[in-house]
């Protein structure tokens, strides 16, 4: 498909761009949200949970990259990354708010 790159339709190019952004930006948000979740819920000391959270987050970034390019459409790429990110953000926000309150 790359050898015919010059003849690819615009819609295809936009879809590829969209997937790249989903992987790059969406993937980062997902990774950060997983990191925060682990850092708040792991039954370890605060410093340890934060370290494990940061270390694990990159694996989810990696997973998001693979998902963004493996799934059938660019829409699914975004949905598959943003929905879990939003869910995690809600849990994290609630946890953060409750710990501060």
């Amino acid at each position: 498909m790359k050898s015919k790159a010059a003849g690819l339709p615009l819609s295809y190019r936009l879809a590829v761009t969209s997937r790249c952004l989903a992987a790059l930006l969406g993937g980062y948000v997902l990774a950060a949200m997983v990191g925060v979740l682990l850092s708040q819920w792991l039954p370890l000391s605060r410093a340890e949970a934060v370290q494990i959270g940061m270390m694990s987050s990159f694996l989810f970034y990696l997973g998001a990259f693979i998902w963004a390019f493996a799934t059938h459409s660019a829409w699914r790429a975004w949905l598959g990354i943003l929905l879990p990110s939003l869910a995690l953000a809600a849990i994290n926000g609630l946890t953060y708010w409750m710990s501060k309150a």
Binding site: G35, S39, A47, M54, M55, F65, F69
Partner: protein, 525 residues
Amino acid sequence: MKEGFRQAMAWLHTWAGLIFGWLLFAIFLTGTMSYFKPEITRWSQPEVPVRALDLPLALSKAQDYLQRNAADAPSWFIEPPNERTPGITVGWRGGDGPRGFTRKTLDAETGEEIVTRQTRGGDFFYRFHFQLEMPYPWGRWLATFAALMMLVGLVTGIITHKKIFKEFFTFRPGKGQRSWLDGHNAIGVLALPFHLMISYSSLVIFMYMVMPAPILASYDNEQGYFNEVFGGRDSVKASGEKVALQPLPELYRQVLAQAPDARIIWLDVQRPGDRNAQVLFIPDGHERVAVQRGAGWRFNGADGSLAWSARPETLAGTISGGFYGLHMASFAGPLLRWLYFFFGLAGTAVIGTGLVMWLGKRQLKHAKSGTQPFELRLVEVLNIASMSGLILGVAGFFWANRLLPVALEGRAQWEVNAFFAVWLASLVHAVLRPGRRAWGEQLALAALSWAALPLLNALTTGQGLNRSIAAGDWAMAGFDLTALGCGLLFAWTASKMLRQPVQAPKRAPKPAKAAPQPTREAEAS
């Protein structure tokens, strides 16, 4: 991307590899060199004499020197000599150095200041490896993101290369594209654990910088996290009451009493000569893989009592310290260090062969017409400049180190300028010359400039191989021999490139056994 999982992953592998390949090649090459950072610095400063190792003597000489020259400085640091670094480096806040900081190199035996040529030595390549000579923090961010893309490239490569064990023993030399693919796969798989470890550990090393969200959710600021994990280093206030600093060799003996294997690589003296003085000894951590940041012994400088020692370890700290240590290889002895070096070269080669294949495969389609589209030419030029050009740039750095006058103003920066100037010149050369010729000519020049480094060293310093081998100065001799070996390798590749390309034999009609061949074409793209 609609053809299926493996094809999608091959697509991602191809394009992530192309876009980040040039940068990753430079990161891997300079990182591989950094496993011999002290040896490169040693070669770059031939004025520093090699002495028999005597740490208590070196510490007392360093203390004398600092007492005479920087008694009023708020803090000192001392890097004592070791097997890989012959001189003592001392430094202090204040004085005439850059950014209000002065550094001097001392003779490990006499304690006298040595006038060395100004150079960044091995530290230049080490810093370039993760900062790319870009302003903070952009270089670190870019290098860390490149590491993530390397990880993406590795994982997608594994998915793409399904017959990973069966084809591991397959190498078909002299067959053009097929040989490149076999080589790419074999080197990639052979050192796969290293490649995965080195890419992932880069992310762990800078995780606090690139993934701060978990820290900020639990701490008020990043400093709070650092204080809790590594132990705070509160600045020591001066009391104003003068009390002579305890002799450093005495404090060192106390360290050895607690940890006989400890090798001290760094001493930090706060408020020397004050009643509140503190002396921190930091060990190199060679006795284990996991690096424990914040480890060390801190003494009250006035009475020599132990003020603080290493914090208890945690599991998570050991895991992240383990990745840190695996990446830096500070635990590795000479043999393991060479293994690291060759694995690093393997990583560099995987990236290089991948870039060559991307282009070769697409050039085949335009071979008949004799012209190639602009984008292929662009990739060709960038391939040449990023690989053989970088190799020339590194040689340029070392030539500048030997040829620039020792007294030149801003000399260390001129060496760096030489590195970039040669690299840029090779880019211009690659634009002007046809692809294969450009490769051949640059590699031939690289062969010459690398193989001649031992000779240049012998002529300019009188510490050539005849002297260094006889004296058992293996840092100096090892550098020269490695340069010579690189020169021979480049000569071999240059001779391949300068000869007319061998046309790959037309494939004979396939027997029935070769039926699954077409799928391999897809995965190889």
